[in-house]
Each structure stands twice: as C-alpha cells, then as structure tokens.
Point group: C2
Chain length 259, copies 2
Amino acid sequence: MQGTFTFLGTGTSVGVPVIGCKCRVCTSSDPHNKRSRSSALIQMGGTSLLVDSGPDLREQALREDLREIDAVLYTHSHLDHVAGFDELRAFCWRRDELLPMHATRECMDTLIQMFGWAFSEKNIYKGYVKPDPRIIDGPFFYGDLKITPLPVEHAAVETIGYRFDHPHARSIAYLPDVKRVPNDTMWQLREVDILIVDALRPEPHPTHCSIGEALEIIRQATPGEAWLTHLGHENDHTILGLELPAGVHVAWDGLKIAL
Amino acid sequence: MQGTFTFLGTGTSVGVPVIGCKCRVCTSSDPHNKRSRSSALIQMGGTSLLVDSGPDLREQALREDLREIDAVLYTHSHLDHVAGFDELRAFCWRRDELLPMHATRECMDTLIQMFGWAFSEKNIYKGYVKPDPRIIDGPFFYGDLKITPLPVEHAAVETIGYRFDHPHARSIAYLPDVKRVPNDTMWQLREVDILIVDALRPEPHPTHCSIGEALEIIRQATPGEAWLTHLGHENDHTILGLELPAGVHVAWDGLKIAL
C-alpha cells in the first residue's frame, strides 16, 4: 500500500505573489515562493480525496494531471477554500455517480447559498457540478482509510482539519486554517506521524497561527515530522526553513509526501 | 490620447486546457492555445476598467502587472465571470474610496447572494472587497470615455456586452457571451471600429455563438476589424485563424489592441 499526500497549494488567501506587491518574496525567482491557495490531495489505494476546492483548483489539477477524484472534503467556507467549486464539474463528467462533498452543516449551507444551482433538483444539465452533500458528524471511511474531522478555532466560520489513518500507511493530520487547537482536537493529534499546520507569517494574526504559534502546536502534538502551510508573502521559503527546529519543514506547491 | 484594450482571458467557462483532457489543443505547446477565462481590461487616459472578475483574475492581474483599477463592469453572473470576486480586494487596499461595480440589477443581486459579506454594512474589515454597487440603467461615463451596455441573448441569466467610445480613440464593442444579438443592440454596433464576439466552437451550442454565428454577427455589424473570443478547446489558434475572412482574427490571452 502506497499512499500520497500532495500539497496542491500552500499559500494564504491572496496567494503569493500578491497582486501588485513588489516585496522580496513576491518578486522572488524561487519557485518555492510561488504559492497558490491552500488545498491538498490524499491518494490511497485507488481513492483520491480532494481537500477544499480553492480558487486555484484548475491550475492545480492541470499541474498534477488530476483527472478523477472520489470526493471533496471541505475544511470551511472561506472563499480561498471554496471559490473553485465550479471547476469540480470536470470531475463530474467522468463519473456516473454524484460527487460526494463532505462538510459541516454550516459550511454546506454556505456552499448551497453560493452555488444553489448545483444543489437544486433542477440541476439536470450534463455539464454541471453534481454534488452529493454529506454532512460531517464524526469519522468516516473510504475503504480502509479513516478520515477524522478535527474541529479547530480559526475565524467566525466553523472550521475543521482532517486526520487520515490507514492500517498500512503513515498517519497524517492537515490543519490549513487554525488559530487555536482545542483540547479535544489536540488529543486527536497525539501520535500522528505527520502534522501539517497553518503558519501565516512571523507576526501574530487574529485568525491564523503565526510561525511561533504553529511551532507551539507542533511541540505539543509531537508528531514524527511536521510541515508548515498557508504561508503568506512574509515568508521566504529558504530563510524560513533555516529558522525551524529539526523535523519541521516548509511545504511548497506540488510537494508529495509518501505515506 | 492612447487607449488600450487588453484581453485578460479568451477562454470558455472551463478554460483551455480543460482539466483531464488530452485532445490536440489541450496538449498543444502553442501558448496561444492556453486560454484563461474571458475577461478584459480597458485603459484610457489614466482610467482602468476591468470587465468581469473571472476565476483567473489573480493570474491575469499578475501577468499584466495590474495594480490599480477604477471600476469593474460585469457582463453577467455566470461563475466564469464572477468567481474571482474576492481577488478584487487587492485593488481595494490601494484606494480610499469604495470600488465601483457596475452590473444589471439581476447580476448585482446574484453578486450580493454569493458575496453578501462584502456588501454588508458589517463589512468594516480593512482587507475585504469594498464594493460600491451601481445598477446599470443606460450609458455612463468615466471622464470622456462613454460606456454603453449592450443587451444580448445568452442564457437564462440577463447578459450584456459593452461598447466603449472616446472622442480621440477607436471605438470597441465587447460581446464575450452571446447567442443572438437583438435588433436594438445590432443598431448600437453600427460603425464600431472594433468588434469582439463570443465564438465558442465550430458546432452550434445552446447559449454561445458557433464560429459561423459569430461571423454572421460580424457580417451584419461590419466593423473595421473583428476578434473572436470565449474560445473552447475545439479551436486550434492557428488553424482557426486560417479559416477566417479578412479582417477577422482569433484573440489570445494578453493581446493588447491600441485604440
């Protein structure tokens, strides 16, 4: 069994470069400093699960030559995680069944508010996104892959991360948008092999972890290895990497982790 | 007075390449066959007007090094023309005033339905999109640039194109999404110097002009020159160009027309 976790995007809500910005990171020639909006793909035993449908989904899918997915798992309803919803139609053309979309009740309600035509009974058009909405109320499975939703504190909207466990692969937890990890979720992170955490910038932010706050979450969870994501243009890939403790790394768009 | 019309994107709703497609155009190495979703920029005498905020707005703005715009003009509320709404915040950071957004009542209502937080009185956050909604009810001006909305038949949603006239520049009309031009609008196209028309593919489509239908609109309007846009992966840039009558051309992403 070989599973793969792919960072489709590792950037903050406006991406890097930022439109109109001439800072050192936004004008950097290092491809690691080009960050599309945070999204991920987990592939295990023939199953492909997309985490979020961000605004850069089309470019990310083209880059990874992604042709089929089995479901979408949403973390929350902010636009940098849902705005690419309509790109999902390319994945609906090639399947007979509806496309399962897992989200909290609140997140699903926002998707329905924004993209009501897709969820409507009148959606009979062949080319449209065809959602099969599934409200998250606890862990669920795709084959032997166990998916555990991880509630976190982020912003006014309800936000979750995900932990993925498979009997024959390393476990991985993905928290792309988080300001604080509640005790119940910290408990769920114990003994995870790989932990991925929001680390917006060095300075504090009201709804995202700073680098220091991300490192503190990692210290408490003590995973086998850790990766920082959802990175703003305050972070140069190489410089940030040099400042991190052993076992903590800076993710980049297209990075694949073998599970 | 030098004005410029820039094709930010010239692709159909799914863009070219299409996710997962291995056709000759989608796998072509010709950069003219890479088409982001249709959008345009008209710049005249220090004024920059963005037509639509499509899903590729960030990439388009980065490519053109676009840092400031004075207003957004919407053609209609389909996702391939509005999904990049949240990218507009980068253009709101750098101005003191709200960002004018011109749209029909129906289109504005859909924008408010989808992105209600931006239009809310509770939108006090510095980093957010700050719209100044302006309902279109006839021609309007930015300086000496006259903007005439051009109602067209396209799909179930109300759709308009735009004609731009300036006393010291060539006139240009932009109809990126159209199936049929009503008589009143055909009248408005008369004597336009440059006409840009939706030309999805050779075969007929329920809501977009085929190549033949686009050519018929151009024949009736008899502009000085004409350009085809909103192109699907059925069209190879070079092959299509060879088949067109004199004065009609295939647009591409990044093309600039001097006015």
